[in-house]
Symmetry: C2
Subunit: 233 residues, 2 copies
Amino acid sequence: MQYLKIMEAINEQIDAGLLIAGNKLPAERKLAESFNTTRVTLRESLALLEAEGKLYREDRRGWFVSPEPLKYDPTYTTNFPAMAREQGRVARSQLLSAKRVPASRRAASLLQLPPLTEVYRIDRLRFLDERPVVVVTNFILPQHFPDLLDHDVTNSLTTTYREQYGVIYSKTRYRVSTTSLLGETAQALRATSGSPAMFVERLNYDQHNNLIDCDLEYWRHDAICIESLATLT
Amino acid sequence: MQYLKIMEAINEQIDAGLLIAGNKLPAERKLAESFNTTRVTLRESLALLEAEGKLYREDRRGWFVSPEPLKYDPTYTTNFPAMAREQGRVARSQLLSAKRVPASRRAASLLQLPPLTEVYRIDRLRFLDERPVVVVTNFILPQHFPDLLDHDVTNSLTTTYREQYGVIYSKTRYRVSTTSLLGETAQALRATSGSPAMFVERLNYDQHNNLIDCDLEYWRHDAICIESLATLT
DNA sequence: CAGTGGTCTAGACCACAGC
DNA sequence: CTGTGGTCTAGACCACTGA
């Protein structure tokens, strides 16, 4: 079990501070040579470290040491930039697309709509310290937000909801599971197809208990740590 | 990108019901031959499906189709057997060890104890429909539970707390992240070293807001889906 | 354009599972 | 004991990144 030894060796170098968060590792061929093994075996070790969240990969660019994960509290209404700022991180959002579309099957089922009902769909890519960490898709019920797309939808939707429409999130139903990144989502995150990911799904309700929108979030799994405090029922 | 095509092909067979939850896939060499490729490439596809939670692996036993994940609500006090029963599943627990030990560094830090303070440590393996799905380690503050180990600690700790000591969970602080299974934990779950996993950490408080114990849970990641409803603050 | 990572081949040996 | 999965080797080609 050579690949476990290699994994431990790299792990130690990270813990010892020889490999610094955000830095790129040497080329695979060089690492393989220095551990006296082949690329296949070395890549097995690297994949393991990726699964543990110690390393991440940028497609065709190489392997990097993971920074601290962002602590993400799904019961907290503050938006992504605020959450990042509170933890001393720099956030940035990029709008991928914003349009009215017939609800996809998944969206219709989540929002309890008849198939093909029109909804807003907003796709955004979010960066943490200039690293792309999550692709967020929002499906929004248009009846609560006439002309939503005339406002800023790149940054905090919660702010636009509140300031333009007087709508305040009050309740959320969330679901967290693991999956892997594929296709456009992987590309947007500069990830290789098949990279491990954390999938967060949210249904959000306003102050009158109306279902308002849903979020589908694909996170680079090393970039996030779900954390919350709950009163038990 | 052959491995993506193979992945999709197997995926379709699962969705079409040709491969049934819990069933074993054909041998890797046979699959590789039938997809006209080598084992290495085939295993790449299988690993991807494992990352997505569609398949799981039992060490040296082969690849199996994943059953529906258990919905796990960290804000719900019902114990594991009850949670499983409510979802029509059969739960079983196996005690791996129960003893008084000096707190590990991690445990001491979580429970805010000076290093090496004595605590109870209980390790359990839990099965869902006879499949081992999670290894749970509890570190318990002994001052609240004199002679705890004389009682049943294999099944529901919450029940023992309540019935023997009048202690009721009232608040929990939880954290969810992804990692990979290694060493004894992997073995107990019949998993290969490096299998992807969901890691849940909980700090539990009683009705007087005293910190009572903490949980460290390593889940086979395809066996669980975190799900909760939260009032926003 | 050089070097790198992504992908793939065609083998091999071993230890273990399960008969 | 047989077959299987776990691990590893020693290459190869291509498309892309980044200088």
